[in-house]
Symmetry: C2
Subunit: 447 residues, 2 copies
């Protein structure tokens, strides 16, 4: 009998789950359900369209229409999954005209993702206040930026800073307000974050840290933001204070949530209900360092989980063991990235650390065009295993993060990294690779 697979959600996780399921079972009936009109576009690309680096929002569409045909996927857009009956193995759906239908499944994959969380700031319902999640969000902001002269971004996480850079690139007076004491507070330690802040300030960005947005001002339309008694004028306000997993549908169906309030799974991305899988921003992940549940909510984690969920939902066997949370961005010409735990987060998890930071260059001293590069490495004190890294630099930061991600995944010790072999040629790197020098620095502190 033909296996019926329903996937709720049709973005990165949904599509990668569908794709993996199709490769596992060529005859399965695979249906994707999404509220949105457009599917499977890159949310991560939105700030870069705003900044003018990518021509149009349509360019963000990763899977063209022919993909769905080729993979024989039934795609239901502008359709809401209103209820899951786990006992009857059915999903109740409603299209944009209000028509209801009940679909039955053998296996279900929940990739309902997450929605932006807007904190209860006074005045948050005014016109001119935006979040950054969908193409529609992007289009709205884009339109508003055309006539705006000033912008306030609330939240100095990755998306907040990327959007702030886009605003600055478009010539707006741009202010970022971060409630926590430094930028990228979950991703960097303070000293590294301060470098990023300084770089952005030198480009003309105003950054206020350690203070919350108290009120969004204006009568009908936003005119400014009140921060610690100061009024910052703003024609546009973008709130980028994180996302919350969409788990209501799953919860109502009896799917168990974890301590992170994300959907709890086993190694095969299966929930407590047999035959119901999950992946992406709504799914809980195990942090590979702390071995504790976490919400990764990164595109890379989403597609890896989705592949595993899709294979299993189609009768195959695959496991996902967790995430480090490796991340990267480029703000102006500076690449900033990290993997594993920050020292702060390690401390919060009760892990004693030793860390070291070095500044080096990306090319041989005598080769023109070298950029400075700053690397912080964090090791666990007892085992001396590398558990985290943060890098700020001008080139090849991404793949250094990947190299250090491999190092952490392989439980390399500081000494092993200090002895590790790297390659060298004057135009592209130094004889002593900065990652190795950083390990040497930590090693000295361990002696």
């Amino acid at each position: 009998m033909t296996r019926k697979i329903i996937i709720i959600g049709a973005h990165a996780a949904g599509l990668d789950a569908a794709s993996a399921a199709r490769k596992t079972d060529r005859s399965a009936e695979i249906t994707l359900i999404t509220k949105e009109k457009k599917t499977a576009y890159s949310r991560c690309g939105l700030p870069f369209v705003l900044g003018g680096h990518i021509a149009t929002f349509d360019d963000l569409t990763v899977f063209p229409e022919r993909f769905y045909k080729m993979m024989k996927l039934n795609l239901l857009t502008e359709t809401t999954a209103t209820n899951i009956d786990a006992k009857a193995k059915t999903v109740e759906i409603q299209d944009k005209n209000g028509n209801k239908e009940t679909l039955s499944y053998d296996n279900l994959v929940i990739t309902t993702g997450a929605d932006p969380f807007v904190p209860p700031i006074k005045g948050r319902d005014k016109k001119g206040i935006f979040v950054v999640r969908t193409i529609e969000d992007g289009e709205k902001i884009n339109k508003a930026l055309e006539t705006a002269e000033s912008a306030v971004i609330i939240g100095a996480g990755l998306i907040g800073l990327e959007v702030a850079v886009a605003c600055l690139e478009r010539g707006l007076k741009t202010t970022v307000v971060e409630f926590l004491p430094y930028v990228l507070p979950v991703l960097l330690d303070k000293a590294m974050a301060d470098r990023v802040q300084k770089m952005l300030e030198e480009k003309g960005m105003k950054i206020i840290v350690g203070k919350g947005a108290e009120e969004i001002l204006g009568t009908d339309k936003v005119t400014g933001v009140l921060v610690a008694g100061e009024t910052i004028p703003a024609d546009v306000v973008v709130v980028a204070t994180g996302v919350r997993a969409n788990v209501e549908l799953a919860k109502n169906a009896g799917v168990e949530l974890g301590e992170t309030k994300g959907i709890k799974t086993n190694l095969r991305m299966e929930t407590n209900i047999k035959g119901i899988y999950t992946a992406g921003d709504c799914a809980e992940t195990i942090n590979l360092v702390t071995r504790r549940p976490t919400m990764s909510q990164l595109g890379t984690t989403a597609v890896k989980q989705a592949k595993v969920a899709g294979i299993n939902a189609a009768g195959g066997y695959s496991t996902f063991s967790g995430a480090l949370g490796s991340w990267i961005t480029r703000l102006f010409d500076t690449e900033i990235g990290g993997t594993g735990l920050t020292e702060f987060m390690a401390g919060r998890a009760g892990i004693e650390t030793v860390s070291g930071t070095i500044v080096s260059k990306t090319r041989a001293d005598y080769f023109p065009g070298a950029f400075p590069i700053r690397i912080k490495l964090i090791a666990e004190k007892e085992t001396t295993k590398i558990i985290g890294a943060q890098i700020i630099g001008g080139e090849e930061v991404t793949q250094r993060i990947n190299a250090l991600s491999f190092a952490i995944q392989n439980e390399m010790t500081v000494k092993e990294l200090a002895k590790a072999e790297t390659c060298y040629a004057p135009p592209v790197c130094e004889t002593w690779e900065p990652m190795v020098l950083a390990a040497e620095m930590v090693l000295r502190k361990l002696r």
Copy 2:
């Protein structure tokens, strides 16, 4: 009593040994002996001065004069070590005026390096024929290129191709002749090498593979090279057919050579004679994949060995366990690199392999400026461990090689790499990292 350390050689290995020795023993008497006038410059930079990317040969000097003072190193330039008496623990030296002297040591580090090997081609003693090893070599070639219109480079290894690119960049008609069947024959497998050859040919380089230079033509000065009956005109001929370790001095002192004809050492870079250490291009290395002796002769291996030799010679304890031979270069805008074994070399070592090659992009599909990237991964069939990688691409190849070097050093399996976490952002990489896709490709072949 003050420890006396003599280091014969004052380039990458000599200086890094001296530096490590000084850090280990602050009061040791450290003497460096070198035939050359200039010390510790980057040989790897020579082709890039020829190509005009680096302004002058003097820029290649890595350690300024104040370094020697700061580190309290006695530097004897234009001085030849003529004999080592291992029993008496002395080194006989002769300066440029013929004055002889005998120096005594407690510990000795031999970093005599290697010299270019010019095969016995008929006519090899003519004017206009050069090798690429010293700054003097570089200066001579540079001068010759000023008036030359055509160049033939014999040998399509790293240095051969780098010099050929420099010649082409300077507007010379440039031909490369390689006796083996493809370019970079020790470093790449044929299909990858063919891509490099094609790229270089598209830039205007003439490349002849599988044929040797039979004769260098001309009466006094070179006028051409005879290859398989064809005369290729040349005002300049550069021979880059590899180097031979300088081991005579060591051998005469009773130091044992290995099967590679390099100096044999233990893990501490100590030779068969207690107190005599070695490092760099004259020293044998263990290949981390085959576990067999090899001659690495790379700058990175040299400095790592030298650090170990220097620490031990100064009474410390450090070990060097071997090398993968990770390498990288940039030819025009293409970065080419590798680590571990090629499939061909693995076969020669009796290792059964499974390999896969993929072509992907360096940035998100929709982000402008992405380069194609080609990755070949080689795994050992039984254990499925990664044992080699080759990459050709436009950006961040260097650090991908480092990441894969870490993967091999950590004995990652193909499956582990296919599941490994990487980071993602549209301007700098793809959601599915090409290295991971390459692993996936090998995995499919293993099923």
